[in-house]
Subunit: 397 residues, 2 copies
C-alpha cells in the first residue's frame, strides 16, 4: 500500500461555458460504459466505419481520409501540419490569435519558412493580405487559417481564401476546433484541403480525440515529400492503413482508445438526430442572444462586428472589475466555468462558450443573471435584468 | 438527418487475453461517468496531483516529471525519443521485436544515427552486445530497450544495461508498455532515465493514455538541444508547465482528456489497494500456470527460457493448424480475444496476454479448455485435460 493519501473522484457538476470542453450529453457518457474491445476486433471495425461516415456528414465531405486522431485537438493541428509541410517549404499562416500562433510555432519546429498574416487579435485576415502573401514567393506550399479562433471569438471567412489557395496552388488547411458541429462549414463545397477539429467543443464528446479530414489532392502530395513525416503517431499514411480497409485488411498502427471512440460515435449520432443544420441554427440563435444580453448590460464585445463566433463570445472586462475574482465566484457560487483571456488578451476579456450540449437557453439566462449580480458587487452597475431581457427578446425573435 | 445507416453501439463482452487492451474493472469504467471538468478547474488539478503520485508509486520513482501523455502507448514512445534525440545524435536501440523496430523507425524519422542491437525475435539483448555498441562511437546519446516485448514475449533484463549506460554516459530509455504494474520495475533503484508505458495493459485502464517518467539527469539535457523538439504535442518541457505547478501556476498546453484521467486515477487506485508487489506476484503466478498448461499440451513456448514475460506468452502454432481459424473460433464461440503474431512472427505464434484485470485463474482455465477443443478439431490431439491439470498444479504450488 502506498504511504500517501489519494481521493475518491467526485468532481463537481459544472456548467461548462468556457472555451471547451463543453458539457456532455448523458447518452455520450453512458456510451463509454460499453465493454472495451481490442483494436482489431471485427465489431470494433463496424464502430470505426460508423464514425467515419458520421464525421463525413458533419464535415460535409466525401473525403475517404476522415477519422479521429487518437489525441486531443492540438494533435490534429500537429498532424495537419507535419504531414504536409517539411523543411524548406513555405507556409502562409494566420497570426491573429493564440491558436494561429500555435500553428506558427509547430510549423517553425518543422523547419518551415513561415509568412505571417498579421491582424489585430479580434479581427479577421482580409483576402488582400492573403493574396499578397501567397504571391510573395515562387511557391507557397500551404495556407493555414483558423476558422473559429477560440482566443479572440472571431469567425474567419473561408470562401475567398479557398479560391486564392487554388489560384496560387497552395493547400488550404483549416483549424475548425471551435466550429465543427456548431458553425456552417462545408469542406467539399468550400474547397478546404485539410481540416481538423476537437471532440470536446461543439461535438460535445469528452476531450481526447481530434477529427481530421484530408482530400485526395493533399494526400497526393505525400509521396513527393523529401523527408519522412517526423512523427510516427501522426503519420496519416500509416493511420490510413488502420482506418481504411484495403482489400478487406487493416494494419495495426496503435491501440485505439475504445471508450473514446464509443463516446464520439454517440456524440455524432446525437448530431445526426438533431440534424446538422438545425444544430448550427441553434448555436447561431443562442450566440446572438448571449451577445445581445451582454451588450444590453453595457459590456463591449471584443471580436470584429460581423465576424463573431456564436460558439464562443469574447467580452471585454470592464475597468476596475477583478477578472480572476469574477471567474472564481462564478465557479464557486454557480458552478459555472467561463474562460479567461489567453496570451495577449489575458486579463482583458472573458471567453464564454455556448457549444454543443452547453448551448441552451437556460445556460444563457443563468449566466447573465449571475454575471449581473457579480459585476454589481464589483461596483459595475447595470439596469436590473437588462441582460436577461435583451437575451429573451433575441431568443423570441 | 443523414441518408446512411449507423448502429447503436452494443459491443460483445470479450475476455481480452490478447496483447492489450486488457479487461477493465467495473469501477474504472464507472469512473468515466464522473462529470467532465475543464482542464484548468481547481478540482481537476487535485485529480492530476493524485495521478502523478500514484504513477510515482507504480513506477517506483521520485521523478517530478511523472504523468500520462494524452495519447496511447506509441505516443509515449514518440515523446520519449523526440525529446532526447535530435539530428546528428547517435542512439543504440534494440532490434529484437516489433516494438523495438518501431523505436528505430521513430529515431530514424528524427534524423538520428541508429546502431541496432540485433537479436533473434524471442531472445534478449545480451550485455556484451550493448557494451560493444556503446563503445563503438565517441558519444552515444541514448540506449533504448524494450523491457517487455509484446511481439515476442521476452522480458529484457535491465540491471546490467543501466550500469553500462551510466558507464558510457548514455541516457537509458525503457519501453515498459507491457510490464508497468505487472512485472518488477524500479525506475530509481535500477537507474532508468526515461520510461513510458500504456494505460491499457497491466494497469487495466482503457487505452488512450501513456504514462511517462523522466529523471532530472535526462531533463537537464533538454536546454542543450540544438534544434527545438519537433513536436509541440509531445514537448515534455511544455507539458511540464501544465502538469507541474510552478509557484502555484499552471500553464495551458492542451485540453486534457478528463474522462480518461478519471479512469486512470481509478485504475491506479486499484493497484494501490491490491499492493504493487502482490499484483506483480499475481501476474507471475498466472503467467507460470498458463505456460505450464501450454507446455503440458505439447505446445512450444517461443520466448527464450528464463526470460519469459508473465504478462504476455508467445506460443508456437503447431503445423497444420489454421492460425486465423483458431483465433476466429475463440472469438465467436468463447468471446475470447488472443493476438496473432506481429511482423516476422505473423502466422507463427499466438500471443496470450494475462494483464491486470484479465489475469485471473478462471481466464486461464477457460482459455486452456477452449484451446484444447479447438486444436482437437484441427487434428492436433492432446491428452484430455492435460493443460488444465498442469495449470492447476502450477497454481496450487
Amino acid at each position: 500500500m502506498p504511504s500517501f493519501p489519494y481521493q475518491e473522484i467526485k468532481p463537481p457538476q459544472r456548467i461548462l461555458l468556457g472555451p471547451g470542453p463543453s458539457n456532455v450529453h448523458p447518452r455520450v457518457q453512458q456510451a463509454m460504459m460499453a465493454p472495451v474491445l481490442g483494436h482489431m476486433d471485427p465489431y470494433f471495425y463496424t464502430v470505426m466505419e460508423d464514425i467515419m461516415n458520421l464525421l463525413r456528414y458533419v464535415f460535409r465531405t466525401k473525403n475517404e481520409l476522415t477519422f479521429p486522431i487518437s489525441a486531443t485537438g492540438s494533435a490534429g493541428m500537429e498532424a495537419g501540419l507535419c504531414n504536409f509541410l517539411e523543411p524548406g517549404d513555405v507556409a502562409v499562416i494566420a497570426d491573429n490569435g493564440f491558436f494561429a500562433e500555435r500553428m506558427i510555432n509547430i510549423a517553425l519546429r518543422l523547419g518551415v519558412e513561415v509568412i505571417r498574416l498579421d491582424a489585430e487579435w479580434g479581427r479577421i485576415i482580409e483576402p488582400e493580405a492573403i493574396e499578397a502573401a501567397l504571391k510573395s514567393r515562387k511557391k507557397v506550399k500551404l495556407l493555414a487559417l483558423v476558422h473559429a479562433e477560440t482566443s479572440t471569438g472571431v469567425l474567419q471567412p473561408l470562401g475567398e481564401a479557398a479560391k486564392l489557395a487554388r489560384q496560387y496552388d497552395a493547400l488550404l488547411l483549416v483549424d475548425a476546433v471551435t466550429s465543427l458541429g456548431g458553425h456552417e462549414l462545408a469542406i467539399d463545397d468550400w474547397g478546404i484541403d485539410i481540416c481538423y477539429s476537437g471532440s470536446q467543443k461543439c461535438i460535445s464528446c469528452p476531450p481526447g480525440l481530434s477529427p481530421i479530414t484530408v482530400n485526395q489532392k493533399a494526400m497526393d502530395t505525400l509521396p513527393n515529400r523529401s523527408h519522412a513525416v517526423p512523427s510516427y503517431y501522426f503519420d496519416l499514411s500509416l493511420l490510413s492503413t488502420y482506418w481504411i480497409r484495403d482489400k478487406g485488411q487493416r494494419a495495426y498502427h496503435h491501440t485505439a482508445p475504445a471508450c473514446m471512440f464509443y463516446a464520439l460515435h454517440e456524440a455524432l449520432a446525437l448530431i445526426a438526430e438533431e440534424g446538422l443544420e438545425t444544430r448550427i441554427q441553434r448555436h447561431l440563435k443562442h450566440g446572438a442572444a448571449l451577445q445581445a444580453g451582454l451588450e444590453a448590460m453595457g459590456l463591449a464585445l471584443h471580436a470584429q462586428a460581423g465576424h463573431r463566433l456564436s460558439t464562443l463570445t469574447t467580452v471585454c472586462i470592464p475597468e476596475d472589475v477583478d477578472d480572476a475574482r469574477i471567474r472564481q465566484r462564478l465557479l464557486s457560487d454557480y458552478n459555472i466555468e467561463i474562460g479567461g483571456g489567453l496570451g495577449a488578451l489575458k486579463g482583458k476579456v472573458w471567453r464564454i462558450g455556448l457549444m454543443g450540449y452547453s448551448s441552451t437557453e437556460q445556460n444563457i439566462l443563468l449566466f447573465l443573471s449571475a454575471l449581473e449580480r457579480l459585476l454589481a458587487e464589483e461596483g459595475y452597475k447595470t439596469e436590473t435584468g437588462a441582460g436577461i431581457t435583451a437575451a429573451v427578446q433575441s431568443l423570441r425573435k
